[in-house]
Symmetry: C2
Subunit: 134 residues, 2 copies
């Protein structure tokens, strides 16, 4: 989704009115100082919704819902990626000094995380057993 | 204030639990692509509270409450500056590619802004006429 951005000779201002998001922002985190080429994420969330914004640099995000994997490239601060519930995600940092900021719908809840991909696939198939037979 | 940060060989993760902040986050904005040496802000807010974080690069923030001016340098993503209500603020961008992210306590409200410094001083003195005589 596009973030409202005001561009003039003094630079760019991008604005998110929190009330316009599809979820309440409970947690804000940002990844910085990540070595070039490193991959972060590599876990699934059951219910968490997120908005990912690459505020500087560039990262490649891969989302997997248990059936389909989709790649995204985040390199514009004025573009955000909405991550719905039930997604495995990985983020590869492909430019030096990349900063990725994430707005999340929940405070930290250990039980919402799935750290093993096979476990994620099993959870995902149980969550929606008929999603492969639409 | 320090932001909880988790540092390891894969880089840094800084986390803000929104419920721990002294205000509810209603608006999130970020300044990027600002020319080196440019100054942003240069206005006052009546009631708005903010948390400023320099996620990349470096900026010099000046806060003025109508009586006292105080400079701050933001250059660490793990450090945030809390801006209380009733402050005139200016931000000078002193490194290339600086990104400054601001969490704010209100949606956009035109009547909360004061764009003229003399008007701000007049408003500030009326707000707290005896602050100069503690």
């Amino acid at each position: 989704m596009n973030i409202s951005s005001y561009v003039d000779a003094r630079g760019n201002l991008s604005v998110i009115e929190v009330g316009d998001l599809p979820f309440t922002v409970r947690r804000i985190y940002y990844l910085h100082g990540v070595p070039l080429g490193a991959t972060r994420g590599e876990h699934g969330h059951k219910l968490l919704e997120q908005l990912m914004i690459c505020m500087h640099g560039s990262c490649e995000v891969t989302l997997n819902d248990g059936q389909t994997q989709e790649p995204f490239k985040l390199s514009l601060p004025s573009v955000a990626l909405y991550v719905p519930p039930g997604m495995w995600r990985s983020l590869r940092f492909v430019e030096p000094d990349t900063v990725c900021c994430v707005l999340a719908s929940k405070p930290y809840e250990k039980e919402d995380y799935i750290y093993d991909f096979e476990d994620f696939l099993a959870w995902s198939s149980q969550r929606s057993p008929d999603r492969s037979h639409p």
